[in-house]
Symmetry: C2
Subunit: 199 residues, 2 copies
């Protein structure tokens, strides 16, 4: 089937296609994912690097309808409308303190971001897409997950599934957003000119 | 040449090999990287996802000897000893506030971690390794980079290069650490049992 949402991103150089190919759609097919695919997604995340190999991430996921319903209830309504179809919903958390010694781990959100990226790239290798969301109620998520603000940052909600190439079931306002977004230019995010403030 | 530091990691399931294959060595070859490789590394990072597509990351890099010398001076001595050979040194920063509106972006470190992971995986696709470090002086790094603590978190220093399979030039105490590290088990980092505190 011809996709209604072709990827028109243009890289500035010969980067691996997986980075261009990954984006965050909202049109998903409701079919359940096989268990082995769910397993592989977190396996990819597990091998991410972290400060002192602390592995500060924790992924809590929902595949069963009643559990997904609970996760959905924490999302903002706009995200609920499309994420309700996704067969796999996830909250990813970062432990605030080092397990050894208990002092604050200021690298935990950064390291957990690396684990999330691994999951997102592995999703594409399985023919899936992963869409991370900041649009959820922190209060509600802490309550549903049953963790303390003293122990964890809740970094993001993530919806995973197969993309619905027809996008037929998307409401019109959401369909209008259904395309890979673009990026700042290379030279805006990388430079060898420093000190920065002198330029 | 047979590597002195073979990768003996064992995945728990059929994850893409790139995640197992990526690790953080300290034995690097001093040869400069071609410009196109430097360009591709940040190109990969550039396409990472971020909250509101903010792209809060900024990569400042050094390839010229005098610039690398400056970057090195911010690292802790233990990292200086091996990173001095790397042809590419980087500091990755996360912008603290949204460009539009200026309010605090609490997702910036997480999103910047995703960009870092893209760079690390792209490095392997080029036959390179990227090693991120928390071991540096924040004060010194802010001074060298010429940015304000009000504007940026400095998340990590990163050394990139080709791996020296012989590891002949590594001091013995550093050579003792030169192997891919392992991870917690899958079930320690992913669960569908919640609320967490009830288990």
């Amino acid at each position: 089937m011809k996709s209604k949402t072709p990827n028109t991103r243009t890289p500035e150089c010969e980067v691996d296609s997986m980075f261009i190919d990954r984006w965050s759609p909202r049109a998903f097919l409701p079919e359940p994912l096989p268990d082995y695919q769910v397993k592989i997604l977190f396996e990819a995340a597990r091998w991410a690097p972290s400060c002192f190999n602390e592995q500060p991430w924790l992924f809590v996921y929902a595949t069963e309808p009643d559990k997904r319903e609970k996760f959905l209830s924490a999302l903002v309504p706009k995200n609920q409308r499309w994420a309700a179809r996704c067969p796999l919903l996830i909250f990813v958390m970062a432990r605030k303190n080092f397990e050894q010694g208990g002092r604050a781990n200021r690298h935990a959100p950064f390291d957990t971001g690396a684990a999330w990226m691994s999951l997102a790239l592995q999703a594409r290798k399985l023919g899936l897409y992963a869409h991370a969301m900041a649009g959820f109620s922190q209060d509600k998520a802490y309550e549903i997950l049953g963790v303390s603000r003293d122990d964890y940052h809740i970094m993001a909600a993530i919806a995973v599934g197969r993309k619905d190439e027809s996008a037929d079931d998307l409401p019109e306002d959401i369909l209008a957003m259904e395309a890979p977004n673009t990026r700042k230019s290379w030279s805006e995010v990388a430079t060898d000119r420093f000190p920065i403030n002198e330029h």
